[in-house]
């Protein structure tokens, strides 16, 4: 990974609007779920997308993969503008870009065996593969994500949450994609299982040079896992920087508030944090254009200060 490599994903001025019906059924205003979002993800890089519920982070994840195409803006994936692709070409493109969903209980088809679920990637995109060859490839994927290949015939309800997420990951990497959107991949998992899945994601990145868009509300895990982090507030990026820089030197008031809210697993420090907190303050974060305050560190500056 180096800054000179062309980005895998390049998002420019992404917007997603939903029409709001007025009460008489006529055309009303629009709800701007996402507005003016731009970012690049370089090969082998993990970009973290953090924000609270309603900030638009999942909307962006689904727009980037065209599962829920944006209202406006461009998404260039490996140099191709995804909006120009036909439905069939887009489906073929999905071999290169995958998604790992939040809830491994919901993301698996309850009536498909784990092996069939993973094999579907080959059935769709490697049609020349024969049955035995496919079986072998699936078994290798099971092994790779830490599942016993003997479980290929089992159904989702026979697996634990962590195992299910491994099945989803096996399917996502089956076609050796270059980019994976991980939409809250550990939020539904138990604490003791989260580390297993994060380590797996990281190993796969090292091995395959994957790029991730890691969507999460877990600010500690984001800091640990991500190279760069973008902070979303009401559908806009308010700050974006290298993870270490962002956490050490947050510039935007919302970023500060968000980071200050993270509980610390250290009794003395956490008690001090709670005691110092000034609760009930709802700053209206300033909302201006993104400005590069330091190399690679972008902040939505208050208009008044920017002027």
């Amino acid at each position: 990974m180096s800054p000179q490599d062309p980005p895998v994903v390049s998002v420019r001025d992404l917007a997603k609007h939903y029409p709001l019906r007025s009460w008489w059924g006529g055309k009303g205003s629009v709800f701007r779920a996402v507005e003016g979002v731009s970012f690049d993800i370089r090969p082998g890089e993990t970009l973290g997308l953090v924000g609270e519920s309603g900030s638009g982070k999942s909307t962006i994840g689904r727009a980037v993969t065209m599962l829920n195409p944006p209202t406006s803006g461009t998404i260039a994936f490996e140099g191709t503008d995804l909006a120009t692709l036909s439905a069939g070409a887009m489906r073929r493109m999905r071999a290169r870009m995958q998604t790992v969903f939040q809830d491994p209980y919901a993301a698996l088809n309850p009536r498909m065996s784990a092996g069939d679920y993973v094999a579907e990637a080959f059935v769709l995109h490697r049609r020349e593969m024969r049955g035995p060859e496919r079986r072998e490839a699936v078994a290798a994927l099971f092994q790779r994500v830490g599942l016993d290949p003997r479980f290929m015939g089992r159904y989702p309800h026979q697996f634990s949450g962590g195992q299910r997420q491994r099945i989803c990951i096996a399917r996502a990497i089956a076609l050796k994609p270059s980019f994976i959107v991980a939409d809250e991949p550990i939020a539904a998992l138990d604490v003791s299982i989260q580390a297993q899945v994060v380590n797996l994601l990281q190993d796969l990145q090292d091995e395959m040079g994957l790029s991730y868009l890691f969507i999460s509300h877990d600010l500690r895990m984001v800091r640990y896992l991500c190279h760069r982090v973008a902070v979303l507030w009401r559908g806009r990026i308010v700050e974006m920087a290298e993870a270490d820089v962002l956490y050490a030197d947050p510039r935007h008031p919302y970023t500060r508030r968000l980071l200050a809210a993270v509980p610390l697993p250290d009794p003395a420090a956490e008690r001090a944090r709670l005691a110092a907190r000034d609760i009930g303050r709802h700053d209206q974060p300033p909302d201006g254009p993104l400005t590069e305050v330091a190399p690679g560190h972008w902040v939505a500056m208050p208009r008044i200060e920017a002027a």
């Binding site: 519920s53 604490v191 580390a195 509980p263 009794p267 009930g280």
Partner: protein, 338 residues
């Protein structure tokens, strides 16, 4: 030491399913003093929520069964009480707040109606008195403009405000014990911070005891006097909060603390996340000994055969109890030498 407010003795709960009995709680014993805040940490299936629901008579029976034990609250065994008497305690001397503020509130009733109800039942207030107290309660949980908001419906409140309303209802009858079950899990982190700070302040003002159930070690660190770690329906470790975090004696507690991301230094130099191998046990077929033994690198043959009792940890602070046959500090020291 003051007398215990709550004394749980050997509580056991099972659920009958098509696939056999699920042993959700397997002999849980502990005491809670007046004014004490107990943080209970555990994963899904640890029994942390089920055991509290069971003592309040809130598990569906069947399929649920309380298979043993006593729960003494101010000296009275809650498990032996008739449903009518239990109802008086629930929402009265024991208030509770659950995870999902949306589904815990009735969407078709105004907030006032839902706060007033327990006040009239438990405190016997008249309509006017109950309404005045409801307004005071919304003030107490810092909902601005309380008098006007009383007549609004739950959907007119934000998620955080709804949880404040739930806390107001939980506190409405001046409980001696407030039980919060994953009360901030569904909330955004900034809202969680506000709710936790609010509960801290209310505790200082009102002095009730709190049982705070969560999977988040960070939240527990800040608000607890005592921490109790549960796994597979058992207490594996329990002690003063600072001691548990600084000197964990059970391998599961240690694993949980170690699996938190290391955020020191720069990203490049950081170690890989520590991971606890394996998955929680099948609660229908629990291993014979320590339920964590199959995932525990430190486990001895005895751990696999026999459940260790919860007893004072050697050389640890008084009241720091652990269920372990092994001596964790010794093993860690040996590991460090290697």
């Amino acid at each position: 030491m003051t007398k215990p407010l709550l004394d749980v003795r050997d509580l056991a709960v099972a659920f009958d399913t098509d696939g056999g009995a699920v042993h959700a709680v397997n002999g849980v014993s502990y005491t809670l003093r007046e004014g004490e805040t107990l943080g209970i940490v555990g994963e899904s299936g640890s029994g942390k929520s089920v055991h509290v629901l069971a003592m309040l008579g809130l598990i569906p029976r069947p399929p649920g069964r309380i298979t043993g034990g006593q729960v003494l609250f101010e000296g009275r065994d809650l498990l032996a009480l008739k449903e009518r008497e239990l109802q008086k305690i629930r929402g009265g001397a024991i208030g509770f707040v659950f995870q999902d503020p949306m589904s815990s509130l009735n969407p078709g009733m105004t907030v006032a109606a839902q706060i007033v109800e327990p006040l009239r039942i438990h405190l016997g207030l008249d309509a006017r008195g109950a309404r005045a107290r409801a307004k005071d309660l919304l003030d107490l949980v810092r909902i601005p403009n309380a008098a006007a908001r009383l007549d609004q419906y739950p959907h007119e409140f934000s998620g955080g405000q709804r949880q404040r309303v739930m806390i107001a209802i939980g506190l409405s009858c001046r409980p001696k014990l407030l039980i919060a079950d994953e009360a901030t899990t569904a909330l955004d982190v900034t809202v969680q911070a506000e709710i936790v700070a609010l509960v801290q302040e209310l505790k200082r003002e009102l002095g009730m005891a709190i049982i705070w159930i969560t999977h988040d070690l960070g939240v527990v660190a800040g608000i607890s006097d005592t921490v109790q770690v549960m796994y597979a329906g058992r207490i594996l470790e329990r002690g003063p909060v600072d001691d548990i975090f600084a000197d964990p004696r059970n391998a599961y507690t240690l694993g949980l603390l170690r699996s938190l991301p290391d955020l020191s230094g720069s990203r490049a130099g950081r170690r890989r996340l520590h991971q606890i191998e394996g998955a929680p046990p099948d609660m229908r077929h629990l291993p014979p000994g320590d339920p964590f033994a199959p995932r525990n690198a430190f486990a001895t043959p005895r751990c696999r055969a026999e459940m260790p009792p919860l007893s004072q940890a050697h050389g640890a602070a008084p009241g720091h109890l652990v269920a372990a046959w092994y001596d964790l500090p010794k093993l860690l020291a040996a590991e460090a030498v290697r």
